[in-house]
Assembly symmetry: C2
Homo-oligomer: 441 residues x 2
C-alpha cells in the first residue's frame, strides 16, 4: 500500500478553526489551487473555509530554506512549474504546510496575515492544460451506450486489452462556476431529419481527472511501476456533452459534441493526500483477457485504485429560487473503472507520447452497475427516452436552460479523516443562435 | 477574389541575390518562422537562402513607428503574440518587410547585418500549438480507407454535411528534421493474433495545416465570411501514423496510432502571401447534399481554395548514401479537399469552441483520385498488401527504419511568382522496445 505519513494522522488538527468537523479541507487534505484576489492571481492551499496564500506565507519567512524554491513555484498564477518538480518536491511542501497549519505551530499568529476567506476570492484554473485526454474506463457505461446505439458488439474487444481514449479540447477547459452555453450544431431529430439547431440532448458526464506532475520525454514511455509518481493530483471533471451532435459527427471520435466546454474543479487534491485511500484495483475475472506486461502490476500502491465517491446533483432554476439543495442524479465511485489511472498513464505514454506537467487525463464517465450510479443522463434516461423524476414536481430527459450541475467527490476510509474535492459546477445558458435549419434530403 | 497588392508584383526583386531564380522564398513569399542561432531563439523571415532577423532589423531602426510594435512581437521566440494581432498587423509588417528587402531599399546596406544564412541556424516550431485539430477532407481518401477496412458504407453521410475532424495531440508536434521513433503498441497480425510490438505499418500522411491568427471567444462562433481572417498562415504537416495501432484501438477515434509524433514545416506561409493563389472551392455536385447556411458562401476570396501542389518523397538509407534525390510517392493538391479551410474553421467554432492564436487545423490526408495522388502508403499499397517500387531496386509496403519522408509544397499561378513552403522531413528511427509479446486468446 501507499506511504501514509504524519500528514495523514487522524489526530492532527489545524489552528484554522473551520478545518474541523465536516470540512472538505481538513489539514489532512491541503489541496493546491490558484485564486484571484484584489486583481492578482496566485497559488494557495485550502484549509477549512480559508486559503493560505503561499506567496504571502513565503514573504513572512515561514518556509525553511529546503522548500523555499518549491513554495515560490506553488505561489505562481499557474501551478505547472510547481507540478513539474515532481513527487518529492510536492511531498516536501505538503509536509511543511502541514506543520505550519497544525495546531501549536509557532508560525500560527504570523500566518493569520496570509489567510483569506474562500468566499472572498475567485478561483481560477489551477494550471495550463496543454493536452486533455479523456478515457473510457467504465465497462457498464460502455456497454449501456453501445446497446443504446444498437451496436451488435456494445463493448469492442479492445476495451479489455487497453484503456480506450480520445484527445479532448484544451482551449475550452474552464474552472467550476463558468456557465456552459448550449451549443448549436448538426443533429438528427427522432424522425431521422437532420437539423442545424441548438442541441436538445445536453448532458453532463461525471468524471475524475488526473493532472500530470513530472512529465516524460518524447519516445520515453513511463513504466507502469513509475506511473503513479507522474500524477500530481486529481480534480473533478464535468465532460459536458451534446449527444445529438456527437452521434451524428462521430466518425473519428467526439469533436464538437464535447469541445464546447469541459469544467474542472479548482482544487487539486494531491496524490499524497489520497495515499491513505488507495486500494487494490478491480480484480480481473475469468472473462477478462490476459494483460500485456506493460499494463500488468502486482503493486497496488503504484498502480491501484482509490476509495473515492462522486456525485452529480441537479439544481433547477426553481430549486435554486426556493433554496432547495437539488436532486442528486448520480452517485458513483472509482470501483467502476476497468483501468486504473496508472494504467491509463502507462498506456498513454507507451507509444512514446510525452505527457507534460498540467496535462489532464480524465477517467471517462464513472457509471457503475446500478441505476443511481449511472453518471450521465444518457444512461439515466435511456437517451432521453425515459425522463427521470428529479423532485420538486419536475422531470428531466436532458438538461434544460438554467439547470445547474454540481459535482462533488470525497475520499473515505475507516481510521482516517475524510477529505473532499470541493465542487465542480456549471449553469446551462441558452444557445447563442436559436434558429433551427432543416436541410431537405 | 482575394486582395492582391504590390507585395505580389511579379516584377518585384530583392537585393538578396539568392531570392531569385527557383527559390522557394522570393520576396513575394516572406514566410515567418523561429530560428535558433548562437543559443538564442527569435523570429525571422525567409528570403532566398537567408533569414532576416526581425529583432536585429528593429534594433537597426528599420521599421517605421507604425509597425514597430508588431515587429517586436514577430521577433519573439514564439510567434503566438504576433499571430494574435490579426490580419491587419501581419499585412502591415509584410508590406514593411517587402519594402525593406526590395531592390533599391535605402536600408539594404544596413540590413546586411541582420541577415543570417539558413544553413547556419536550426529552425524551431514557429509557435506554441495549444490545440491541434486534424480534419478528414479528402473524399477519395475516406472512400479508399473505408473500402480497405471493408466498411459497408465507406463514406459516412456526415462526411458530406460537415468537415469531420478529431482532436490531435499537441505535445508531440515537432519541427521538420526531428526523427520519428517507431512506436510500440497493440496491433493485430495478418492472422488476427493480437501482439504488443513495434508497429510494422508505419505510414506518413501528406497534409497542409492552417495556423490560427486572431482567436475567438468561447461561445462566439466565427461566421464563414470572417473565417479566412482568422488564419495567419499555412505549413506542411506530416501526420505520421501507426496504422495497426490505430485500427485496433480506434473506438473513440485515433489516439496512440497518431500521438507518437506529428511533423510540421518551420516556415509559415502567410494568408497574404497566398492571396494571389486563391481559387474557387470545389464545386458541389448533384450527389452532394445541400449545405447548412453556416457552411455556405458565395465569396471564394473568403472561403475558397488555393492553387497549392504538394508532394511526399521517400529517401531510403541507400538513396541518401548514394546521394540520390529520392522517390516521390505522392503528388497531390488542395483540389481534393471536399471542404475549404474557411469551412473547417467556421465549423470548428460553430459549437462555441474557441480557437487560440497558434492552434493548428490540418487538412487530413490530401489524396486525389489518381494513384500518384494518393497521399499515404495505406492507399498507395492497399494497406501494405501491394508494395510499390520506389526505385533503386527497392520496394515499400510501409516505412522501414532509416527511411526519410520529405514533404514539399508550392503555390503556382500564371502571371505570379511561385512560392514554396520549404520542407517537412523526418527520418524513421528504430523502436525503443523491440520485443514482441503475444497474449494467447
Amino acid at each position: 500500500m501507499a506511504v501514509v505519513d504524519q500528514t495523514h494522522d487522524p489526530e492532527l488538527r489545524s489552528w484554522v478553526a473551520s478545518a474541523h468537523g465536516h470540512s472538505e479541507f481538513p489539514i489532512q487534505n491541503l489541496p493546491f489551487g490558484v485564486f484571484e484576489h484584489a486583481g492578482r492571481q496566485r497559488g494557495g492551499v485550502a484549509i477549512g473555509d480559508q486559503i493560505l496564500d503561499i506567496g504571502a506565507a513565503a514573504e513572512l519567512g515561514c518556509f525553511p530554506p529546503s522548500v523555499a524554491d518549491v513554495a515560490r513555484l506553488a505561489a505562481l498564477p499557474r501551478l505547472n512549474d510547481f507540478m513539474a518538480m515532481g513527487e518529492e518536491a510536492s511531498t516536501a511542501l505538503r509536509k511543511s504546510l502541514s506543520g505550519l497549519l497544525a495546531a501549536g505551530s509557532p508560525n500560527a499568529a504570523k500566518l493569520q496575515a496570509a489567510l483569506l476567506a474562500q468566499s472572498e476570492v475567485v478561483m481560477q484554473l489551477p494550471c495550463d492544460v496543454g493536452d486533455f485526454t479523456d478515457f473510457l474506463t467504465s465497462l457498464p457505461h460502455t456497454d449501456r451506450l453501445g446497446r443504446l446505439k444498437g451496436l451488435q458488439e456494445p463493448v469492442p474487444p479492445a476495451f479489455k486489452t487497453l484503456p480506450v481514449a480520445y484527445h479532448g479540447r484544451s482551449s475550452t477547459i474552464r474552472v467550476s462556476g463558468t456557465p456552459v452555453t448550449r451549443p448549436t450544431g448538426q443533429w438528427r431529430r427522432a424522425g431521422g431529419e437532420l437539423v442545424c439547431a441548438p442541441v436538445e440532448s445536453l448532458d453532463y458526464e461525471l468524471e475524475l481527472g488526473a493532472l500530470i506532475g513530472r512529465g516524460n520525454q518524447l519516445a520515453a514511455p513511463v513504466p507502469l511501476a513509475q506511473a503513479q509518481q507522474h500524477i500530481f493530483g486529481y480534480c473533478l471533471v464535468n465532460d459536458w456533452s451534446a449527444k445529438g451532435i456527437q452521434w451524428w459527427e462521430q466518425i473519428l471520435g467526439p469533436f464538437l459534441g464535447k469541445s464546447f466546454m469541459t469544467s474542472v474543479s479548482p482544487w487539486v487534491v494531491t496524490s499524497q493526500a489520497l495515499a491513505p485511500f488507495r486500494m487494490p484495483a478491480r480484480a480481473r475475472g475469468g472473462d477478462d483477457p490476459a494483460l500485456f506486461p506493460y499494463l500488468r502490476s502486482a503493486d497496488d500502491a503504484a498502480a491501484g485504485s482509490m476509495s473515492v465517491q462522486l456525485s452529480a446533483t441537479l439544481r433547477t432554476p426553481s430549486m435554486r429560487e426556493q433554496g432547495l439543495p437539488g436532486h442528486t442524479i448520480s452517485r458513483s465511485d472509482l470501483q467502476c473503472m476497468y483501468w486504473t489511472f496508472a494504467q491509463m498513464l502507462a498506456h498513454h505514454s507507451s507509444n512514446g507520447c510525452c505527457l507534460r506537467p498540467g496535462d489532464l487525463l480524465a477517467s471517462g464517465t464513472l457509471s457503475g452497475e446500478t441505476p443511481e450510479s449511472m453518471a450521465c443522463l444518457s444512461e439515466r434516461t435511456a437517451g432521453g427516452a425515459k425522463p427521470i423524476d428529479v423532485g420538486n414536481a419536475q422531470s428531466r430527459g436532458w438538461l434544460l436552460d438554467g439547470d445547474e450541475i454540481v459535482m462533488q467527490g470525497h475520499a473515505h476510509r475507516p481510521g482516517y479523516v475524510s477529505i473532499g474535492f470541493g465542487q465542480c459546477s456549471g449553469v446551462v445558458k441558452p444557445a447563442v443562435q436559436s434558429e433551427s435549419v432543416v436541410i431537405p434530403d
